[in-house]
């Protein structure tokens, strides 16, 4: 029996009069890959932003490792061990790949303004440790050779991996991936799936919001199907694929 790392209960969110998240409940078990799928406008991204701290829910609870985190600002959510990527990658311009990843390690280091103004005399050990740790992460993702390049000069597929590296640099317990296959070609999608599948061995729990069924069905342990802000089905990929309501939502039942 595995343990629950993230538990979402009775979550509600409105945008004006629009009830975008309507009583959502689900949980993420430790070291498993959970995917949230659903047609456009189902509330996937809103749900994601609620968990990541970019939005505060109108009501309901989100507990991470037993502590309520709903409404916390995103930097605090991040500090608790939750890292995220963005649907449209948001790498930092005018910074190298390695620097981008080192920003991801912010919370694993301590040096403040005064110490950093003192320079190498005061921060070289920590800087060295950060650099090594981040290079290891790039190595694991097979992109160590790109470390010195400007992150925004890379092709899109590589940028995605850099963003994954940046999220991993924080050594998160829960990793939130917002449509990791969006905009990738089939070969890049495959590589991304391979990298995500490896995460469990790093003791990382993953929550994916995704459109691309091929990615989701291949790597998810548990799938939550969202439609009009509510969970209409959940289970293993096989269970979800054979669920009539899910098929109806995806293929458009009203056309029948």
């Amino acid at each position: 029996m595995s343990n629950t790392l993230l538990r979402v209960r009775d979550l509600h969110h409105w945008f004006g009069g629009l009830h975008v998240i309507d009583g959502v409940r689900f949980s993420c078990e430790q070291r498993l890959v959970t995917a949230v799928i659903g047609p456009n406008g189902a509330g996937k991204t809103t749900l994601f932003n609620l968990v990541a701290g970019n939005l505060a829910p109108v009501s309901g609870t989100i507990s991470f490792d037993g502590r309520d985190i709903q409404g916390l600002p995103s930097f605090e959510v991040s500090a608790m061990g939750i890292s995220r990527t963005f649907q449209a990658t948001r790498l930092f311009p005018r910074m190298t790949v390695l620097e981008n990843v080192m920003v991801g390690r912010h919370r694993k280091s301590r040096a403040g303004f005064l110490q950093d103004m003192g320079g190498a005399l005061f921060n070289s050990r920590e800087e060295h440790r950060m650099r090594e740790a981040c290079m290891d992460i790039l190595e694991n993702l097979g992109i160590a050779s790109l470390a010195g390049q400007q992150a925004l000069d890379l092709p899109f597929g590589r940028q995605r991996l850099v963003e994954l590296a940046r999220a991993l640099a924080a050594e998160p317990r829960l990793l939130l991936l917002d449509e990791p296959a969006c905009g990738l070609n089939p070969r890049e999608t495959e590589e991304m799936a391979f990298q995500i599948a490896k995460l469990a061995s790093l003791d990382i729990t993953t929550l994916i919001v995704e459109h691309d069924m091929s990615l989701v069905m291949g790597i998810s342990d548990h799938i939550v199907v969202l439609s009009f802000g509510s969970v209409i089905a959940e289970g293993t990929p096989r269970e979800v694929q054979s669920n009539e309501e899910v098929v109806a939502v995806y293929l458009g039942a009203d056309n029948v």
Binding site: A52, S78, F92, V103, M117
Partner: protein, 327 residues
Amino acid sequence: MRAYARELPLLLLAGLVVGAQVSLSALKVDFYLTQLTMAAWYSLVALGLCLLMGYAGQVSMGQAGFFAIGGYTAAVISTTGMSSWLSIPAGVFVTAAVSFLVGIPVLRLKGHYLAMATLAFGFIVSRIIVGMAIFGQADGISDVPPYPLIAGLAITGKRPQRVENFYLAWGVVIVGLMLALNLVRSRTGRALRAIRGNEEAAAAAGIDVGRYKLAVFVLSAVYAGFAGACLTHFNAGIGPGEAGIMKSVRSVALVAAGGMANLWGTLTVSVVLTFLSLRGAFGLFDDAVFGGILVAIMLFAPDGVFSLLRHGIPSPRGFPRRAKGGR
């Protein structure tokens, strides 16, 4: 080695400073040293703003306000006989305190709104100075005594200590530059650049964006306030012109011309243009020159004047580029 390569440019700068003094004194034109000393103190303002605007991406149109707060605090304390040594520390402390209190509300604003709020702050400071008797109103404060350091050395513009003060100011600039360079190359510097790049992504990486913005805002104000306090002792006084809006615009123009996130570029542009301005090279058009530089930089060299050396003059933004080579 790598660590050595980092310090080498600073050593070269120190060499350049010594070379400048030796040759100007040998040529019997050491009156230039006075303006070079003033240019050095002023360049600290630009270096501080470079950290805030260039690296962290937060515009401040109110740096002259912080400069004036440092300067006037030092002037009031040293002319009322309160203390001979307290003036500069107090100037720095008051500047830091004011920037902290101002920073909390205004840094919630972004982009143009932040620029407007800081512009208004600078305006308020200059109005308070002109309006209050303790600040000498339109006359400013004069007869500020030299600031005593060790062994008879003092921050003063008096001739016998011209060379000493030249080295003093440049020593401070080199240290100030070194501290800033260390900062931008570190964890803190990466966090600041990340904030400039994308605030949401920076927060997602665990960076407390609000705290970092406030800290670098205070730091930039401290650079300005310290410069203001020291220059007030050097000039033996300060006037309300130092708090003027155009002085703030000047700093923004210097950082923009220096290449925004470029401390060396900012220092170079700042020293050259401030020196020329102090020599009266721009005549009555002093403010117009700096305003014009700002417009020209935004149009033709948004990455600073030094980028022109590498890439040539680009078409202004929004205008179609002419194809290079071929037809």
